[in-house]
Symmetry: C2
Subunit: 315 residues, 2 copies
């Protein structure tokens, strides 16, 4: 799957992933009204509106991008109907030939991690039948529990040819509380915890190579470009998934450190900046209204591609 | 909710929680066969069998115990039908007046953490209607992302009078890879990361007091009793949820360090040891078969109560 992702990034020239994080206040009013008219004030109506919203954005952008990243929390908060919309979204993105990164940040140990890996990247067998629970292509994973938590995910990835992005340095202001703490390594050096986790990602990934990159990648926030530079060197074979662009403050120029010289090795996420682009004045000025909201998403994707490629060309 | 949990522990004299982690290979064959006979080889059949299994165990033990802890991964791996069985299990345990600890180990930042908190501890409003997505009483949470990840959960807990158990030192063999690393604190001390996280749990919890305990608790594995002793002192107001008893190697005598002098302040989880007790020779010798599997769970709960209370009395 990492080969497919890398090929798609080369082909589109767009090292970007659209974050399908449908918060209730991003949904255009007419979509929610139509769903409520049909199904009443219910979780099912919200789920229908979320899927319609995602579908319109995917239809307007799928030819420009390699991948999407639905954030499962935004679906899980609407209970079972919400998770059904999550699965429908994953399936629809696959119909459109997009790589799907499930932003699930799961993490446990042993058979429990194996169960999460099965849920998101694997299959289950009941008697003579096989079923795909959620069926993403990549999943984000939390490393706090150590190798016992990661290895069961890696096993499923090897079997199903899927991949992981392991949290290393997250984009939020307080990520340093634990991740930046200086630790002592076995050989007596003092390095921040995120560097140590990055070195573990490199180790876990070295046994999981695709053609050019490992299918064990890392999450490093756009908001920490200097740390991105260090982590790029520590994990030379890992793709870096970069959240925090746009709404969280990361700019194109901040991103060059996350990429290799050839412009590969990183994929930058934007959620709000693309899916809620229709609410921004700059796109309203270009004739966007609530009704053609997805056209704003396409414009925002095009602008993001230019922003990143300009930054990569100017370094 | 922490007051309710503490009162129930006093009343039952059982500081234990039954882990409802229904792995496919624990399910008695006749339950799965009956469900497949009705619904075919399907995820729906597995979900029905899981709920029947849980219900029998709850019916056989609810009067002895304060709480259950369903592990959501074991349901999530069976997709939407599996998660429906999770919700039915939560609802049924509430009917039986049990406290439900959702072992979900979620963790993200900002609005995403808020969405997870809503999913598991809160409510969502659609127009004039309010819905409860999953409705557990407590949730387990991963601290790797720092305060930005924890605060949105705390906000929902304050509003809904729910609680958290934050991962501090997990029970697995490799938990030390990151959690045991020596870090430098702001005031120049060198302590393991888990102690630092424990101190943060104490800080987060100090603003969230019930009558005797904070509703922000911690997870510390039974397999690390010496660390449990240190963490008991660092977090005097936090309940400690203790996994790793039984199958993972923790024994009653290992547990005394996690409790206060008065025998409160900790709640010990057992999953396999109780729900799969019917497969053990010691209970087979007492007349247990696959058919009366839930009777073995009751016997195992009784044995666990004796094991822990003996250890507490002998210290």
């Amino acid at each position: 799957m990492i080969n497919i992702l890398n090929d798609k990034i080369k082909k589109t020239g767009a090292p970007i992933v659209v974050g399908l994080d449908p918060m209730l206040n991003y949904l255009p009013k007419h979509l929610l009204d139509a769903a409520i008219a049909e199904k009443g004030e219910s979780l099912e109506a919200v789920a229908d509106a979320i899927f319609a919203y995602n579908k319109a954005i995917v239809d307007a952008t799928y030819d420009l991008i390699p991948a999407v990243k639905p954030q499962i929390a935004m679906y899980e908060q609407f209970g079972l109907p919400g998770l059904e919309a999550f699965k429908k979204t994953v399936d629809y993105c696959h119909e459109k030939d997009l790589v799907v990164i499930g932003d699930v940040k799961r993490g446990d140990i042993g058979s429990t991690s194996a169960a999460y890996a099965t849920a998101h990247l694997g299959n289950v067998t009941v008697g003579s039948q096989t079923f795909t629970p959620f069926g993403e292509d990549f999943a984000t994973v939390n490393p706090y529990l150590g190798s016992d938590g990661i290895n069961p995910f890696v096993d499923v990835c090897k079997k199903e040819r899927k991949g992981l992005f392991i949290l290393v340095k997250t984009s939020n202001p307080s990520s340093g509380e634990f991740q930046d703490k200086l630790i002592k390594t076995e050989d007596g050096r003092e390095i921040p915890l995120y560097e140590y986790v990055g070195a573990m990602v490199d180790k876990w990934g070295s046994d999981c190579m695709g053609d050019e990159f490992s299918y064990i990648g890392a999450v490093v926030g756009a908001t920490y470009p200097e740390m991105g530079k260090v982590l790029r060197d520590i994990m030379p074979h890992s793709y870096i998934l970069v959240p925090g662009y746009g709404a969280q403050g990361g700019k194109g120029a901040d991103l060059v450190n996350f990429f290799n010289e050839d412009g590969l090795g990183a994929i930058v996420n934007s959620s709000r900046g693309i899916i809620a682009a229709y609410t921004k004045d700059e796109y309203k000025a270009q004739g966007i209204t609530d009704t053609n909201f997805a056209d704003a998403s396409r414009l925002a994707v095009e602008d993001m591609i230019v922003d990143i490629s300009t930054a990569l060309n100017n370094r």
